[in-house]
């Protein structure tokens, strides 16, 4: 038992220390990969680290003082969410903490009384509304498939959860696009320039504030891919290979979708993600419960 606790603490510490490096590298790869897909050379894979370092060397500039501590709280709760997941805590609790974190982001954006930021915040709320049901159903799916909400128990399952949760997996991949702010669902804030609401939710963030936002996104990215990994992990140590392979595939797929699709409007996003949730997530869970 104590050994297990040690392992959990070690994994959590590893997440807190290593996630920004991994997340930053993923962001860099994303830009490199996108550039290659578009026939460009693109920046270095370490570009994200350069960006953040630059952002922190800029002078502190705010629209109002509240921005800093709300952004700080957002960053804290994002890290906390990931830490909960890697510490093997209850999956629902993890997702609820994620929602709390997202609320801080929305509040940080709208406290500025800036039109672009506020529209971004409103769209972010619609995004939350779109992905929340699928997120909850995924947690329920894990519970039905493995008999526990605790991540620590889920990773010890005899077989991969994906075998029982194919619908939930596809649904989760769908909302992953929303969560990662990838086209066609990058409506609250885009990584690309020239969208109609400037930089959306991050419009009023500059210098260190934006740097904090970037780092939080790295943490979140690692957290989300860990969720993808959770579908493939089992008590068999070889499943780690499956996790790595599938996470890389999911990553590639997200970049591909990002580069090949145009942005949708918020109502299309809401309709489509709710339909997918209901059809894939809902039916998957109903069938699981029926053939239990």
């Amino acid at each position: 038992m104590t050994e297990e606790v040690m392992i959990r603490i070690a994994v959590t510490a590893a997440y807190i220390i290593l996630a920004p490096f991994l997340g930053g590298l993923l962001s860099g790869l994303e830009r490199k990969l996108s550039a290659r897909m578009q026939g460009r050379r693109g920046p270095s894979v370490f570009q994200s680290f350069y960006d953040v370092k630059k952002l922190f060397s800029k002078n502190l500039q705010v629209v109002n003082g509240a921005q800093i501590f709300i952004m700080g709280s957002y960053a804290f709760f994002i890290v906390f969410t990931g830490a909960l997941l890697f510490a093997g805590w209850d999956l629902l609790l993890v997702f609820f903490t994620l929602t709390t974190a997202a609320m801080f982001l929305v509040a940080a954006a709208s406290c500025t009384h800036s039109p672009y930021s506020t529209i971004g915040a409103n769209r972010e709320m619609v995004q939350m509304m779109s992905y929340e049901p699928m997120v909850l159903l995924t947690a329920v799916g894990f519970y039905l498939a493995t008999g526990s909400f605790d991540v620590a128990e889920i990773v010890k399952a005899d077989q991969m959860a994906i075998l029982k949760l194919p619908g939930c997996f596809i649904g989760f991949m769908f909302i992953l696009t929303i969560k990662l702010r990838k086209s066609p669902f990058d409506i609250s804030c885009s990584h690309h320039a020239h969208q109609e609401i400037v930089k959306g939710i991050t419009t009023e963030m500059s210098g260190p504030c934006l740097g904090l936002m970037e780092i939080s996104e790295w943490y979140e990215k690692v957290f989300l891919f860990a969720m993808i990994g959770l579908f493939f992990i089992s008590s068999n140590p070889l499943s780690i290979i499956a996790v790595v392979v599938m996470c890389s595939l999911a990553f590639f797929l997200e970049v591909l979708i990002d580069n090949t699709s145009a942005r949708l409007t918020w109502d299309r996003m809401l309709y489509s993600s709710w339909t997918v949730t209901l059809l894939l997530g809902g039916v998957n869970i109903l069938l699981l419960e029926l053939f239990k």
Binding site: N59, L60, Q61, V62, V63, N64, G65, A66, I68, I70, G72, S73, F76, F77, F80, L84, W89, D90, L92, L93, F96, T97, T99, T100, M103, V106, A107, S110, C111, T112, H113, S114, P115, Y116, S117, T118, A121, N122, M125, V126, M128, M129, S130, E132, P133, L136, L137, V140, Y143, L144, V198, L270, W274, T277, G281, I285, L286, E289, L290, K292
Partner: protein
């Protein structure tokens, strides 16, 4: 247990005093003293009960003289309703009042000989309701003292009938105590009708055309429920020869018809679809009414009765239909709340939606859901009453309760805004009460059997829409501009006492609920279901408490840490030149244009036009099917 008669009668006496005292100041002081007395009595009751050590007590087997008073009271109520119906020419409502009363009276005089059963039941659930009614209700009355003063200063067009208002509040408190403590069906029915009529009179307080229309809607819907209740009483008397709610539940598969009818009455009282419209209309009443009757206590009476019935509903068709109605209400009310900009209307829809969740929990009727349902009831009472009071106070100060006008309230009315923010995050965010028990309910639904999976799916969608309307309200409050016009805070100290008390309760309950569960709720659950289950693991609960602290401490710490940092403040980017600190801009002709930020309402997706009728029809269909199937099934 000698306190009980005093507890029920004292508020009526206080009401009489309120009605007679015409001086506002004296009345205010008297109201506060009466509230203090009521609270003392509730605490004495709680102390006696706990020191007694018995889990459930049945009292007052024979109380004939009280029955006579009640019959007189019922006739009086009927006459009052008939008089008002005639006055406002709402004749059909008369039938809904006269028939049940006559039915009950006839049953009592020419009906069968009934077994002598207890009239009062004191157990953990009813004591809990007493505590809610006494403490929350009492605080709201304290709030009302200041509120009504400002209300009439602001609304000079309405005649000041404050003494009548306070009298009704106290009558209502008395009736609520009676309702939750009664075991005899006729007693419950009597207090039930009093609360209906109180609510009707309070909604019509301003006597405007809209108020009268809405009050009659509330009246007929509640009386319709009462009608169902009366039929249940007559049926029970003839079929089972007793009038005890507890025995009815024990006889459960046989007593499905009265149980369903009482559940139907409970649905009307807790404003489930198709009966939700009365609660939405009730928002024309002064805010303490909405806080007390229409969110914290009266609508909870329906939930309370359903929780009482839940052992009988568990794993039955009736229970399934009730959970369907509850979940439909939960989902659609939370969607409809998105399209509203009136603060009280949003609170009303949110109330309906949360009541739906409690009703669902009671309908499923497993150990876990009942446990979650009771906690939802407690947390909702405290949090929602805080929110109603905040909206009322904001309305008195800024003369508007529209959420759009609450832009930047955090700088204009900081104290009220902070209280409101606490209330809002208490309603939907981890790690606060409502969310924890939504989580517990979610787990309990899955565990309670495969036929409840659809409830899980509905809950998932309903929580996401809930998230949306609260977050956008919250954002409106914090979105401030340096040049927002300041507002005069006219809130009286008494109001602040009540609101701060509620705010402290919200946090304290979050920190202590695992103890409340261990020492109070779980024993009750094991009493009625005969089994104990650990619903949320201890480690999770500890983590929740840490999270509660984090939500407050982390922003505060970062604030203190970064407060002195050198920073440059720039105007927000609006793709042009800011004027008035960003509240206006220069357009391309060089003219100054004003700028307003507005929330999203998604009228064509979640608007009342699109969803309200549909949800009412859906609710009505389920209610009719449920009644036909359950009663028909039992008769066959």
């Amino acid at each position: 247990m000698n306190v009980i008669p005093y507890l029920i009668c004292f508020p009526f006496l206080a009401a009489l005093v309120m009605f007679c005292v015409r001086n506002r100041k004296v009345r205010g002081v008297l109201a506060c003293i009466s509230v203090a007395a009521i609270m003392v009595m509730v605490f004495v009751l709680a102390y006696c009960y706990i020191s007694d050590g018995k889990s459930s007590q049945l009292l007052y087997e024979s109380a004939h003289y009280v029955e006579y008073i009640m019959q007189a009271g019922e006739i009086l109520l009927m006459l009052l309703v008939v008089f008002l119906c005639v006055k406002y020419k709402k004749y059909p409502v008369i039938l809904l009042s006269v028939i049940p009363t006559v039915m009950i009276l006839l049953t009592e005089y020419i009906g069968p000989e009934l077994a002598e059963t207890a009239h009062i039941r004191l157990d953990r659930l009813s004591l809990l309701m007493c505590l809610i009614v006494g403490i929350i209700g009492g605080m709201i009355v304290v709030y009302a003292v200041g509120y009504m003063r400002r209300y009439h200063e602001h609304h000079v067009e309405f005649t000041d009938r404050s003494s009548y208002f306070f009298a009704l509040l106290f009558v209502f408190l008395g009736a609520m105590f009676g309702l939750v403590l009664s075991e005899s069906l006729t007693w419950i029915f009597f207090f039930w009708e009093i609360t209906s009529v109180c609510s009707f009179l309070l909604i019509g307080y301003t006597r405007t055309e809209e108020a009268v229309r809405n009050s009659f809607r509330a009246l007929w819907m509640n009386l319709l429920g009462g009608f169902g209740f009366a039929i249940a009483i007559v049926y029970t008397a003839y079929k089972f020869r007793h009038l005890s709610l507890g025995m009815l539940v024990e006889q459960s598969p046989l007593s499905m018809i009265p149980v369903m009818l009482i559940a139907f009455a409970a649905l009307t009282k807790s404003a489930q679809f198709p009966f939700s419209t009365w609660l939405l209309g009730a928002m024309v009443a002064p805010t303490p009414t909405s806080a007390l009757l229409h969110s914290a206590t009266m609508v909870k009476a329906g939930c309370y009765i359903l929780l009482r019935l839940s052992p009988a509903l568990s794993q039955t068709t009736a229970g399934m239909f009730i959970s369907i109605i509850g979940s439909i209400t939960f989902l659609f009310a939370s969607m409809l709340a998105i399209s509203q900009s009136d603060g009280k209307k949003v609170l009303a829809y949110s109330t309906v939606s949360n009541l739906g969740l409690i009703v669902t929990c009671a309908g499923v009727g497993s150990t876990g859901t009942v446990w979650a349902g009771i906690f939802l009831l407690i947390f909702h009472a405290v949090t929602k009453s805080l929110l109603f009071q905040c909206v009322g106070a904001v309305e008195n100060s800024s003369h508007s309760r529209d959420i759009e006008t609450m832009q930047g309230l955090i700088t204009r009315l900081s104290k009220l805004a902070f209280l409101m923010i606490l209330g809002i995050i208490g309603m939907y965010l981890a790690p606060f009460g409502m969310l924890i028990f939504k989580w517990a309910a979610l787990k309990a639904f899955i565990d309670s059997g495969s036929h409840n999976v659809f409830l899980v799916i509905i809950l998932a969608f309903g929580s996401s829409t809930t998230l949306f309307y609260w977050t956008k309200w919250l954002c409106k409050l914090v979105s401030y501009n340096s040049e927002c016009t300041p507002c005069d805070d006219v809130t009286t100290p008494g109001q602040y006492v009540s609101m701060f008390f509620h705010a402290v309760m919200v946090i304290v309950l979050c920190l202590t609920f695992s103890y409340i569960s261990d020492y109070y709720i779980s024993p009750y659950i094991s009493d009625i279901f005969g089994e104990t289950v650990e619903f949320l693991s201890k480690s999770n609960l500890t983590l929740m408490m840490i999270l509660v602290l984090c939500v407050f401490l982390i922003p505060l710490l970062i604030y203190l840490r970064t407060r002195r940092m050198k920073k440059r403040t720039v105007p927000a980017y609006i793709s042009g030149v800011n004027r008035q600190g960003g509240r206006a801009f220069f357009n391309s002709y060089g003219d100054e244009r004003h700028m307003e930020l507005s929330n999203w309402y998604m009228e064509d997706l979640f608007g009342e036009k699109r969803l309200l009728k549909f949800s009412i029809i859906a609710g009505a269909a389920v209610v009719v099917i449920a009644l036909v199937l359950v009663i028909g099934g039992a008769l066959l």
